[in-house]
C-alpha cells in the first residue's frame, strides 16, 4: 500500500469534486537525519521525484524537516527553486536563505492562512528561531483569513503549546511525529490536530465546512476516542490497584488457589510502577477531555477527516507513475555503473546457502520451494532491485557491519533471504561446527525485523507463516 502515483489519483479525485488546499508538513526525504555518502544519490533522486509529483498535482505549501535538510541545504534550495515549490517557514533560515513565513491560499471567497515552523533541534545545518514567537508574528502579519493552518515540524507534544500561545491556529498538521489521527484530535481552543501516518500509505483528506464567526472546530469523533481511552484507563487503574493490594496483602507465598500471587518486593514495585503509569495515562486523557469539553463560546466549524488508503485498488496516475519508473531506472543505472566495491563473501562472515547445502540438504531443498529463496524477484519485477530502501529485506547480510551497506555492494551470493538471514553468519560454523553456534531462529522476533506489519502491509501472521518456513 502506498505510492506517489496513487496519492496523485486520490488528490485528482478530490479536486474533481471540491476545492482543495494541498499541503505537506515535511520529512518527505530520507528516513534518517543523516545520509551515508553512498546513498545520497538515491535519496536525492527519490526526494526530487516526491517534490516533482507534488508540483505536478498542485501544492499550496510545504515545509522542511530534518530528513529533508539531511539531503543538503544547497541541493534542497536549488530543487525548491527549480520546481517553484511554495516553501513556508516562519522560523527557518538556511545560510542567507529564508522562506515565506506565511501564505494565504484563496479559493473564491475562501481564505486559508498557512504558516509553518520547525523545531530548532530539528533544523540540521540551518537555524530556527523561537517557534512560538515566530508563528505568532506570522499569524499577525497574514491578516484576516477564514482559518489558520499550521504545518508543524515539532514534536507533537509541542503543538499544544503552539495553539495555546497562538489561538488563531485552528488546524495543525504535524510532520515530525508520524502521527495518524483517523479522527481529528482535539487541541486547546477548539483546534484540531490531523495526521495521516507515515510512508505515504494514506493521504489525509480533511473535509472542512466553515461557518460564520466560528471559534474553532467540532471534533466529536476525536472526543469520543478520548472518552473510550478514559474508560479503558479507568478500568486499568482499578485493576492495577487491586493487583497491588493483593500483592501487598499476600507477601512471598503462593497459594494453591492463587498460584500467581507470588509477591516478592520486586513484584510489589513492578505493580506500583504499573499503577503509576496507568494513573498518569488517565490523568493525561482527562486533562485533554477537560480542555475540549469547555464551552466553545461561539459557533464551531465542521471537519470530517479521512485518511484515505493508497491501496492497491486505487489506480496509478499515469504521469506520476512514469516519473516513478524513470526514477527507479535511473537509480538502478547509477547503482550498476557505480564504482562502489562489492563485498565479496571471502571478506565477510557469511558463506551463502550453497555452503549450508552440503550438510543440510533437506532443509536447503525445503527452503528453495519458499518465497524467501526468490525474494529478489519480488523487487526486480518492479525495478526496485537497487533500491536502498528495499534490498535489506530481500537479501542476506545487508547492514551487518561486515556485510553490504549498499545495494551496489551486493554480489549474487547475498541475494534472496538465505539461511544466514535467519540463522546468522555461518563462516565459523562451516570452519568448525559446534552446537549452539547458529541461531535456531525459533521466535517471532527473527521474522518481525522485516515482517513488521508496516513493510508487509499487515499480512504477517507468525502462527500461519511459521509452518511455511519450518524445516
Amino acid at each position: 500500500m502506498g505510492g506517489l502515483s496513487k496519492r496523485a489519483t486520490i488528490l485528482s479525485r478530490e479536486k474533481a469534486v471540491r476545492p482543495v488546499v494541498v499541503v505537506d508538513a515535511g520529512d518527505f526525504g530520507a528516513k534518517s537525519d543523516t545520509i551515508p555518502e553512498g546513498l545520497l544519490f538515491q535519496h536525492r533522486a527519490k526526494a526530487h521525484l516526491q517534490l516533482e509529483s507534488f508540483a505536478l498535482g498542485g501544492l499550496d505549501a510545504i515545509t522542511f524537516g530534518e530528513e529533508d535538510l539531511a539531503l543538503g541545504t544547497d541541493w534542497l534550495l536549488a530543487t525548491a527553486k527549480e520546481l517553484s515549490l511554495p516553501v513556508v517557514s516562519a522560523n527557518l533560515r538556511c545560510g542567507d536563505a529564508t522562506f515565506a513565513p506565511w501564505k494565504v491560499v484563496e479559493r473564491g471567497d475562501l481564505k486559508v492562512g498557512i504558516t509553518a515552523v520547525t523545531a530548532p533541534e530539528l533544523a540540521g545545518s540551518c537555524t530556527a528561531s523561537d517557534p512560538v514567537r515566530s508563528v505568532k508574528q506570522a499569524v499577525a502579519d497574514m491578516g484576516p483569513v477564514d482559518v489558520v493552518v499550521l504545518l508543524s515540524h515539532e514534536k507533537p507534544e509541542a503543538d499544544t503549546a503552539l495553539v495555546t500561545a497562538v489561538p488563531a491556529i485552528k488546524v495543525v498538521v504535524n510532520g515530525h511525529g508520524k502521527v495518524k489521527n483517523d479522527e481529528p484530535k482535539p487541541l486547546p481552543g477548539h483546534a484540531v490536530a490531523l495526521g495521516s501516518g507515515s510512508r505515504g500509505k494514506y493521504v489525509g483528506l480533511a473535509r472542512v465546512a466553515l461557518v460564520p464567526d466560528a471559534v474553532g472546530f467540532e471534533a466529536t469523533g476525536g472526543l469520543d476516542a478520548l472518552k473510550e481511552k478514559q474508560t479503558r484507563m479507568t478500568a486499568r487503574v482499578a485493576k492495577a490497584k487491586s493487583d497491588l493490594e493483593d500483592a501487598s496483602n499476600h507477601p512471598t507465598q503462593p497459594t494453591a488457589d492463587a498460584p500467581k500471587k507470588q509477591t516478592g518486593l520486586s513484584d510489589v514495585n513492578r505493580l506500583h510502577s504499573q499503577l503509576e503509569y496507568y494513573q498518569k495515562q488517565l490523568a493525561d486523557v482527562e486533562a485533554e477531555i477537560a480542555v475540549f469539553s469547555n464551552a466553545p463560546g461561539g459557533a464551531l466549524n465542521k471537519i470530517v477527516n479521512m485518511n484515505s488508503p493508497a491501496a492497491q485498488d486505487v489506480p496509478n496516475d499515469p504521469a506520476v507513475q512514469a516519473l516513478v519508473d524513470a526514477t527507479l531506472a535511473e537509480i538502478t543505472r547509477h547503482e550498476n555503473e557505480g564504482s562502489t566495491a562489492v563485498v565479496a563473501l571471502d571478506d565477510s562472515p557469511f558463506v551463502g546457502a550453497d555452503a549450508c547445502k552440503s550438510c543440510h540438504e533437506a532443509q536447503y531443498t525445503q527452503w528453495q520451494t519458499q518465497a524467501h529463496a526468490h525474494a529478489m524477484q519480488a523487487l526486480s519485477k518492479d525495478g526496485h532491485e537497487r533500491d536502498a530502501s528495499c534490498f535489506a529485506c530481500h537479501s542476506t547480510g545487508a547492514f551487518h557491519p561486515k556485510g553490504p551497506q549498499l545495494p551496489s555492494q551486493m554480489t549474487a551470493a547475498y541475494e534472496n533471504v538465505q539461511c544466514e538471514a535467519c540463522h546468522g553468519p555461518g563462516k565459523d560454523h562451516v570452519a568448525g561446527p559446534k552446537p549452539g553456534q547458529m541461531n535456531p531462529a525459533s521466535d517471532a522476533s527473527t521474522c518481525t525485523v522485516c515482517h513488521d506489519g508496516d513493510r508487509d502491509g499487515g499480512r504477517f501472521d507468525y502462527a500461519a507463516y511459521l509452518p511455511k518456513v519450518t524445516h
Partner: protein, 69 residues
C-alpha cells in the same frame, strides 16, 4: 530480538509492500446520518457552503515513492 536480527534492524531502511484495502471517500462535513455517507469510492458529496474545502495533507513520506514489491 536476536543479536543478528539487531544489526538488520539498526540498518534497515524503509521498505514495504502492499495489501489490498478497500478505498473509501469520507462523508461530507454536513453528513448527519448513515444515509448521507457516500458509497466507495464515488460519488462524492457536492460542496454545500461557499467556504467548504478539503485540506489534502501528507507528511513523513520518508522517501517512499512506492512499495518495494
Amino acid at each position: 530480538m536476536t543479536r543478528h536480527a539487531a544489526w538488520l534492524t539498526l540498518g534497515l531502511l524503509a521498505c514495504s509492500n502492499g495489501k489490498s484495502e478497500p478505498s473509501a471517500i469520507p462523508p461530507a462535513p454536513n453528513a448527519t446520518t448513515a444515509v448521507d455517507l457516500p458509497a466507495t469510492p464515488a460519488p462524492v458529496p457536492a460542496v454545500t457552503g461557499p467556504k467548504d474545502f478539503t485540506l489534502v495533507y501528507t507528511h513523513n513520506l520518508d522517501g517512499e515513492i512506492e512499495p518495494c514489491g
